[in-house]
């Protein structure tokens, strides 16, 4: 499988990182996973965000975000509140416990972020990031056949 090893490598490496990271968060008694911590950071920054804001900022679809917020609400890290200006909307409020959990997680996340960089030059990390960022342009349309349209538009 020489040609698809790149995709395989991306997926399996990512799985390794995610597992390691979330286990580290367990070991640190953070009480949240990486993605949940991300939500808490966003709310610490600016409390009372809507579900749509959060799903966009976290980079997941709205139904995924519903589950994430459900689980955070269940353990008392966030609360849902009706929006005063739009009856379709909820404003998600972080609790003090949620702030604390997020702060605890942050230490672990920083550490592992540093571990990722260990042994690599800054220029190399830049290349790594720019390739990842290219995915957002290349694979933004969720229709896998749309790349043909992109190529046609270049002519």
């Amino acid at each position: 499988m020489p040609d698809d090893r790149l995709i395989f490598l991306i997926f399996t490496a990512q799985n390794k990182l995610r597992t390691y990271l979330n286990n580290a968060l367990v070991a640190a008694n953070a009480g949240v996973t990486f993605v949940q911590a991300g939500i808490l950071f966003l709310l610490k920054q600016s409390n009372g965000r809507t579900m749509s804001d959060l799903s966009q900022l976290i980079g997941v679809d709205n139904s995924t975000l519903t589950g994430l917020v459900d689980r955070l609400e269940k353990v008392g890290f966030v609360a849902r509140q009706a929006s005063p200006t739009d009856r379709r909307s909820l404003l998600i409020q972080v609790t003090p416990e949620g702030i604390a959990a997020g702060d605890k997680a942050k230490v672990v996340i920083k550490r592992i972020n540093e571990e990722i960089k260990t042994g690599h030059l800054p220029e190399e990390m830049e290349i790594f990031k720019s390739i990842l960022r290219s995915f957002f342009e290349k694979f933004n349309k969720n229709d896998g056949s749309s790349s043909d349209d992109v190529q046609l538009s270049h002519k």
Copy 2:
């Protein structure tokens, strides 16, 4: 979130790729996802592998592999067979339909593999891959606190 943007970037980029890829496989009527296709390739290469072999080669744990094989078996792409030499073992046989599905998927996977490389130098892709490969050394222990032990052993 400056420091953890790298991890966030890895996860969200990977999600983009995975979604795009699996949608492309749907569009191509491959009838399998990327991971399922990986299993079919392995079986085309060498049919009758054990579940343990497959889980190792695919890079997932054995219970994940059980689900994957269940779903492939359900659509008639593989079959489970008792091992003649070890009563704990099963040998997974790919069917002709499974081979066909894998071949169809391969075309799409190759295309997207090329898309990933588009716009980047070969040396850049090498750097990208070597950073991903470093995850397998750095994050191999699933205990996130084990990095401290590693550091201690260096003294």
